[in-house]
Amino acid sequence: MSPEAWEEVKVEPGKYLETMKALRKGGLNQVSDLTAVDWKDRGVIEVIVHLLSLKPGEDPRNTLGRRVRVKTEVERDRPSIDSVTPLWPGVNWYEREVYDLFGVDFPGHPDLRRIMTHEGFVGHPLRKDFVDERPKRQRVIPSR
């Protein structure tokens, strides 16, 4: 799929849920991905959602296979964005993953727990400033 075929929407965190509701109603009935990027220099975490339409909806622009990318930037210190799991149940684990790896909070999510790392894990490993707190690994071949 060529990159030009994507529509890209950038929204403020405050308008995010509203936009997503409209897009859902418009007929984009599948979330193919929900992920995030840590922009440490700018102090934001960008949450990116990829939407796909599998059937025509209310929106006349909405053809089969229409793809929309929604980008939102949240503050890096206290990242929080509304959950869209009530709109697309399938996005449940994606949000858990972003929570686990980036520490983004999703208010409204039914079951926001860690998913990739274990329950006692400290920190969010895909953050650029993540430091592995575990004791340094014992070297198999000692360095000289």
């Binding site: 274990h118 006692g120 993540f130």
Partner: protein
């Protein structure tokens, strides 16, 4: 197979091999220990623990018709309670570690473990990762290590033959497995 009859005089050119019907028709005398171990080594039902790419090479390729693990008497069981051998193939994450331990403990004794691939041996290419266990022998005792990334199915077969050799040398009650290198910490913090 090593069913030797020590009571029968070796016939010319036959070595120690016992030949059916030579002594008493339909009667084989052997040591119980040997029969039991022969049974154990020839029907190791394995629980495959495919965790990463090694599973494709060594569970799927080796199990499929070209290499055919079945002909060694190894059958895949989905339940730990029915299996004798655990094939750990792939990267062990800290999330998975307590589950592996639980499943190992659910297996009936005597139980054996083969660690397949550098990941299961020592963390492999992911050893520097934030979520990698540096070898499955940190969690459960391992009998045979099969190195490679991934090992070829032939290497797995060689590992299985080594394990069979080990089983053959057992008494009727196999020795207790040696302890894992480090005890797993409680629950999820392994």
């Amino acid at each position: 197979m090593g069913l030797n009859n020590t009571d029968v005089k070796p016939t010319e050119g036959q070595g120690d091999d016992f030949r059916l019907g030579q002594h008493l028709p339909g009667v084989i005398t052997t040591q119980l220990q040997k029969v039991i171990n022969w049974g154990r080594q020839s029907s190791m039902w394995y629980m495959s623990f495919g965790l990463a790419c090694c599973a494709i090479e060594d569970i799927m390729a080796a199990g499929a018709s070209r290499y055919d693990l079945d002909r060694l008497g190894l059958f895949f069981r989905a339940s730990p309670r029915q299996s004798d051998l655990m094939l750990v193939a792939g990267t062990v994450t800290e999330k998975m570690a307590p589950r592996i331990r639980t499943l190992y403990e659910q297996m009936a004794e005597p139980r054996y473990v083969i660690a397949l691939g550098t990941c299961a041996i020592a963390g492999g290419p992911f050893a520097g990762g934030y979520n990698t266990v540096l070898g499955v022998d940190k969690i459960i005792p391992v009998d045979v290590y099969v190195p490679g990334c991934p090992p070829r199915p032939e290497a797995l077969f060689y590992g299985i033959m080594k394990l069979q050799e080990k089983i053959r040398k057992h008494g009727v009650n196999p020795p207790a497995p040696r302890k894992a290198k480090t005890a797993p910490k409680e629950g999820s913090k392994a």
